[in-house]
């Protein structure tokens, strides 16, 4: 392999640094040869280094948010876990990049993709979708839900697999029977869908209602639970 085969970003044209391809006094091409001598490492050269960084950050208490994306029958799910527990489960339609930016602002920008801390939630989601799990056994970090919304989520955690409640029943259980709309928005902004089962909340007329991951995802989940 010649020195210039994998350096497409360092040819003889001016680059973003404003350095000409053949700078002043580079009559013998030394500067060009220098750039070719140490090419930009390819992304796959960084995979092991990034894994090591995540492990060392975790050990040093610097990994405020560990995340990964897991595949599921309702599309890729981003799961984010703090030192306290699962803080966020996000659907693809929310835009995973945007979700990570929100987490950076709301929790901490010390965010890395990391397997270890996210393993339990990834495994339990797999089991859930495979019909082998009816209840998630995970620590939760619900700091992204405050006040009444938090109370609603606490009630929602008690709605079992295969059951549904109405928004009105949920509002009543959370201590404010008239706050039906607020109960609805608590579900719509649930930071940890699936793990806190907001998909089990339906309209009192029996129709399916809204869902953060889209109504189709909600229908899939309810069908999965009623078939089991």
């Amino acid at each position: 392999m010649g020195p210039s085969t994998n350096t497409p970003d360092h040819d003889h044209t001016p680059d973003h640094t404003g350095i000409p391809g053949r700078p002043d006094g580079d009559d013998d091409g030394l500067v060009t040869r220098l750039r070719d001598a140490q090419p930009m490492p390819r992304p796959d050269a960084l995979v092991a280094l990034r894994a090591r960084l995540a492990a060392e950050a975790e050990a040093d208490g610097l990994l405020d948010v560990a995340y990964r994306v897991v595949d599921s029958p309702i599309g890729p799910l981003l799961v984010a876990v703090t030192y306290d527990g699962v803080a966020r489960v996000a659907f693809e339609n929310e835009g995973h990049d945007e979700v990570l930016e929100e987490l950076a602002a709301a929790i901490s920008p010390r965010i890395l993709t990391a397997p270890r801390r996210t393993d339990p939630v990834a495994r339990q989601l797999d089991e859930y979708f495979a019909g082998r799990r009816r209840r998630f056994d995970l620590e939760l970090d619900l700091r992204l839900a405050r006040g009444f919304r938090r109370q609603v989520l606490d009630q929602l955690r008690m709605v079992d697999f295969g059951h549904t409640v109405s928004y009105g029943e949920l509002a009543r259980a959370a201590g404010n029977p008239r706050a039906v709309r607020a109960a609805g928005s608590a579900c719509a902004t649930n930071p940890v869908p699936l793990v806190v089962p907001c998909h089990r909340v339906v309209r009192s007329d029996g129709s399916i209602g809204q869902y953060r991951g889209g109504p189709e995802a909600k229908r899939t989940l309810l069908a999965l639970e009623s078939a089991a």
Binding site: M1, P3, D15, H16, T17, G18, I19, G25, D26, D28, G29, L30, V31, T32, R33, L34, R35, D36, A37, Q38, P39, M40, P41, R42, P43, D44, A45, L46, V47, A48, L49, R50, A51, R52, L53, A55, E56, A57, D60, L62, V65, Y67, L100, E101, L103, A104, A105, S108, P109, R110, I111, L112, T113
Partner: protein, 181 residues
């Protein structure tokens, strides 16, 4: 503020390139890890609008200089059986830095690593990291004009080293002669 993961994604390669150029493949991975761990620690306090790449290259430069000082202090291997290699290195799996340098212009990079620190830093940060001299100056702690001079002196020294390998300080003569282009 961007998630730190995006910072690693965007700038990880250029920082590794700087570490490889300053230290060679053996120590580059440790310097890369130390750089990003230190950056992660300080990241929430980084001022908005900062030049992230310049900031990372500065940290990498300092980590590399630390490594060079350690190397200078401990030229003789420890005889007490203590394993000085970090245990995390084994966990990192195959050596991507080593693979990344296979078959490359080793003579030239060895000559770069044999330059005096200021020249080495100016050459690597300007020509490999692509930083303008204003930022190179900030990284190596000098004025932009001095950084420009150091880079020019470094390039001149490399020419001398490569044209007469036997006379170049610290450059191994056991490598094949540099290929003509």
């Amino acid at each position: 503020m961007q998630p730190f993961d995006r910072v690693v994604e965007e700038h990880g390669a250029v920082v590794l390139r700087v570490c490889l150029a300053l230290l060679g493949p053996d120590e580059a991975q440790d310097a890369w890890s130390e750089t990003f761990l230190a950056a992660l620690r300080a990241y929430p306090r980084l001022r908005p609008g900062s030049n992230v790449e310049g900031w990372l290259v500065t940290i990498a430069h300092n980590k590399a200089m630390d490594a060079l000082r350690r190397r200078a202090r401990a030229p003789v291997p420890a005889g007490d059986g203590t394993d000085l290699s970090p245990p995390a290195r084994a966990a990192a799996g195959p050596d991507p830095a080593q693979e990344a340098t296979a078959g490359l212009d080793c003579d030239l990079m060895a000559a770069v690593r044999a330059l005096p620190p200021k020249q080495q830093g100016a050459v690597v940060h300007h020509y490999l990291a692509g930083l303008p001299y204003v930022e190179v100056a900030a990284v190596i702690g000098t004025s932009p004009e001095a950084a420009r001079r150091s880079a020019a002196d470094g390039i001149a020294a490399l020419r001398v080293a490569l044209s007469s390998p036997a006379g170049a300080s610290g450059v191994s003569t056991s490598h094949p002669r540099p290929r003509k282009r």
